[in-house]
């Protein structure tokens, strides 16, 4: 994955579990009825629903955020009005895995 110098999503969505070094990573996969959700969006929100970041899901339904340490809300949006929300905790040097079933 190469983020380049843009603020956008990495090319082709993300594939999970790359090296993280000292980053506070939140990543996971989204599935619906057992299949990866390749069209959809994962949003990371702070306190009071404050928007932090959003990525399109990868072909494998995967997403990844490089967050600050702390408590976050993960919200997933997909076609057909499908949505889900999870609370997540991020810490430096940790990969927090959050798998979501819609």
């Amino acid at each position: 994955m190469s983020a380049g110098d843009g603020c956008g999503a990495p090319a082709g969505g993300v594939s999970v579990s790359a090296a993280t070094g000292s980053q506070a990573v939140v990543e996971g996969r989204v599935v619906h009825e057992g299949s990866p959700v390749a069209t959809g969006y994962a949003r990371l929100l702070g306190t009071g629903d404050e928007f932090v970041a959003e990525v399109p899901l990868g072909d494998d339904g995967g997403f990844r955020f490089f967050a600050a340490p702390g408590s976050w809300t993960l919200r997933v949006l997909a076609p057909g009005g499908l949505r889900a929300e999870r609370s997540v905790q991020a810490d430096y040097g940790q990969v927090t895995k959050v798998d979501v079933s819609l």
Binding site: A3, D5, G8, A9, P10, G40, Y41, V52, A53, F65
Partner: protein, 280 residues
């Protein structure tokens, strides 16, 4: 200008697919999204390969813009409808380019790619062939673009709107939370800048909030003085193009500039003032 002159919804786009004189253009950083499926008849622009100078840190010059549009089959008379991923960040950035180079008939699709996808509207993998044109751009409109010295001179004098996330603004992060932390040498923000994250201007589906909500967001909540000139910036200038679109095109404020050098430039300059923390 008003909202209906610059912004169209997905129904409008659907009704104008294939119409002569209307060119739909997807603009992304990640053009693999286009390759997987795009609005039927849409062509693509790559934010980096097509719109940035390959050597210097700058965007394509007038000649480069003319060559690009000619090669993609866009003529001066065409209505260009832009849309893209990331809540239209890069589409708004391209919109700003088109305006900089004097293209009048340019529109943004409200909600961009995300709303189109969430609505389950048709996507196509067919890549249209458009005959070459001979596009002529105007000289860059410097009233829309701020360079670094102008930003430094604006401290305490004009509205400076930092549209990055609160964590980037305060200096806790150097980049958005879906990217590795990299780029500028120093964290923080331009002194006296107000932090109004771009995302506050958008609904969850990527559409823009109503004019009343936007007015209240910038005037009442953020305390921008609408009687002053304004410069918006972010990290590399595309999120701030989104806010530039809101302030200049939707709210019709005069004298709003996008500082595309943004934090990656400012935060690496030697000797300029930087503020940390929440600001004011």
């Amino acid at each position: 200008m008003s909202r209906s002159d610059v912004l169209v919804d997905a129904d409008w786009a659907e009704a104008h697919i294939g119409e002569p004189g209307v060119v739909i253009v997807e603009v992304d950083e990640d053009t693999s999204a286009y390759d997987k499926g795009h609005i039927p008849t849409a062509i693509k622009l790559d934010w980096k390969k097509d719109l940035q100078d390959p050597v210097r840190r700058d965007f394509v010059d007038k000649t480069g813009f003319e060559a690009l549009l000619s090669e993609r089959g866009i003529s001066n008379d065409d209505t260009v409808l832009l849309y893209g991923g990331n809540n239209n960040w890069f589409a708004a950035y391209a919109y700003w380019y088109f305006k900089l180079y004097g293209h009048d008939k340019v529109l943004l699709l409200d909600g961009g790619r995300k709303k189109w996808e969430l609505d389950s509207r048709e996507l196509s993998t067919d890549v249209p062939e458009r005959p070459r044109t001979s596009y002529t751009a105007k000289e860059q409109d410097s009233s829309l673009r701020a360079l670094r010295d102008e930003v430094i001179a604006a401290i305490g004098k004009r509205n400076l709107v930092d549209v990055r996330s609160p964590d980037e603004f305060t200096g806790r992060l150097l980049a958005p939370a879906h990217l590795p932390q990299e780029q500028a040498q120093r964290a923080g923000h331009v002194p006296t800048a107000r932090n109004v994250p771009w995302s506050k201007a958008a609904n969850e589906d990527g559409t823009f909030r109503s004019d009343d909500e936007l007015h209240s967001l910038y005037a009442s909540e953020a305390g921008l003085d609408f009687g002053r000139d304004t410069i918006a910036y972010c990290r590399i200038g595309e999120r701030s193009a989104h806010t530039w679109f809101v302030l200049h095109e939707l709210l019709d404020l005069p004298n709003v500039k996008n500082y595309d050098g943004s934090w990656t430039e400012y935060g690496s300059l030697v000797g300029v003032p930087i503020e940390l923390g929440d600001g004011r």
